[in-house]
């Protein structure tokens, strides 16, 4: 376990391992997206109230879920990085930010497109929508802070503190619909009772969720590899790699 942990801290080892895994992860991503899209668009029924519009759910829910899962990954990597001063963990945290920002933007956009026909509005300042918007600003703030400090290790540490502090927003997003009156409805899956989604819609949704997770894994590995090359540009093995 400790050997594995210390190996994970080695940029060269991770670079090579991720390089071997990448093609498989991308293949899995494409496979799951094709299967999930077919299930969601062709083989799932319309909703009893919302009709065909409900299909936006198959993009909106995974994007919103990933926007939070990605932030949690970023924050955990930041804690590990700060406590153990692990260079790799800083690279992982930095690589999470653009992916998470994109997922949050996608969740907000699909939510607006869904809200217009169903609720009758693109945007309302209710607790769920507002806290998700704050999440987008946290991601953008993290990226801006990191880019504004030219010294690498200082940038890493300052941004890590921001990432950790921002974790407070995650329970607010999740429980906003329980704590306050909101336009957004309550949780359908992540609750203690039985899911409130019929099985014929639940399985397409889970497939899309798996597709999004595979996409997250694949794009994170790609980004961390780039980040390693950038950060280790002065090391011997990267120079040898570039020459070859």
């Amino acid at each position: 376990m400790w050997l594995w942990f210390s190996r994970l801290g080695s940029p060269k080892w991770f670079y090579e391992l991720a390089g071997r895994w990448l093609p498989w992860t991308w293949a899995l991503t494409v496979l799951l997206f094709v299967a999930g899209s077919a299930l969601a668009l062709l083989f799932s029924p319309p909703d009893y109230q919302q009709g065909e519009t409900v299909r936006i759910m198959y993009l909106h829910v995974p994007a919103a879920f990933l926007s939070m899962a990605c932030y949690l990954t970023m924050a955990i990597a930041s804690v590990i990085a700060l406590v153990w001063r692990m260079k790799m963990a800083f690279a992982v945290a930095r690589s999470c930010a653009p992916i998470g920002a994109a997922m949050t933007a996608l969740a907000l956009f699909t939510g607006a497109v869904w809200g217009k026909p169903i609720w009758g509005t693109w945007w309302e300042w209710d607790a769920r929508l507002t806290s998700e918007l704050v999440l987008l600003f946290l991601y953008l703030g993290y990226i801006a802070l990191h880019e504004s400090i030219s010294e690498q290790s200082q940038a890493d540490r300052a941004a890590a503190v921001l990432a950790i502090v921002g974790v407070v927003n995650l329970p607010i997003i999740h429980f906003s619909v329980d704590w306050w009156n909101t336009l957004h409805q309550g949780a359908s899956i992540s609750r203690l009772q039985k899911p409130a989604i019929d099985a014929s819609m639940l399985w397409p949704l889970f497939t899309m969720l798996a597709a999004f997770f595979a996409f997250f894994a694949a794009s994170l590995m790609s980004r961390v590899r780039n980040e390693i090359l950038k950060r280790e540009a002065a090391s011997r093995w990267v120079k040898a790699l570039v020459k070859a």
Binding site: P45, P46, D47, Y48, Q49, Q50, V54, M57, V79, L82, V83, W84, P117, I118, W119, G120, T121, E124, W125, D126, A127, I164, V165, V167, V168, I172, D178, W179, W180, N181, T182, L183, Q185, G186, A187, S188, Q193, A196, I197, D198, S200, M201
Partner: protein, 155 residues
């Protein structure tokens, strides 16, 4: 774990806990101000200000929808199963608007206790199912809306 690492971890955890406590206190102080809408009982109890823009949320009372012939003006009652409030509105209602549906109306509370709405939004609940399932639920006496856990609609 080495002492300096443990100290760093404790600093991070304590710092995060401190920030969380601060945010929790702010949210607690804001309390009901974060709510997106008033329930009809809150309005009846006098919690909402007069002639300022407010929102009221609740279920449309069955049989209360009253359209004025020849115009888009209409009125209906919303309820939280305790009190009811009459909403006046002139405009186009969202597709999901129907009797028994959860809605949010934005507008001004008039001195008589009515709300003149400038906007009506439909809420929907967390239940998703195909039309056939909804139909058979209704047929066997468990209509889709009856088992609602949504506290805002069933209060």
């Amino acid at each position: 774990m080495k002492a300096h690492r443990r100290n760093r971890l404790i600093t991070i955890l304590a710092g995060t806990a401190g920030v969380a406590a601060a945010v929790a206190l702010v949210l607690y102080a804001l309390g009901a101000k974060v709510d997106h809408f008033y329930t009809p009982s809150e309005i009846v109890a006098g919690a909402a200000p007069l002639e300022r823009t407010i929102r009221v949320g609740g279920l449309v009372v069955a049989g209360s929808l009253d359209r004025e012939p020849g115009s888009l003006a209409l009125r209906f009652d919303v309820t939280d199963n305790r009190d009811r409030i009459t909403v006046e509105f002139e405009g186009i209602l969202p597709d999901l608007f129907r009797e028994g549906q959860g809605i949010i109306a934005e507008g001004q509370l008039l001195p008589g206790g009515k709300v003149r709405a400038s906007k009506v939004l439909a809420k929907h609940d967390e239940n998703y199912m195909p039309p056939e399932v909804a139909k058979s639920l209704e047929k066997y006496g468990h209509p889709a809306n009856a088992g609602k856990k949504d506290k805002k609609d069933a209060q």
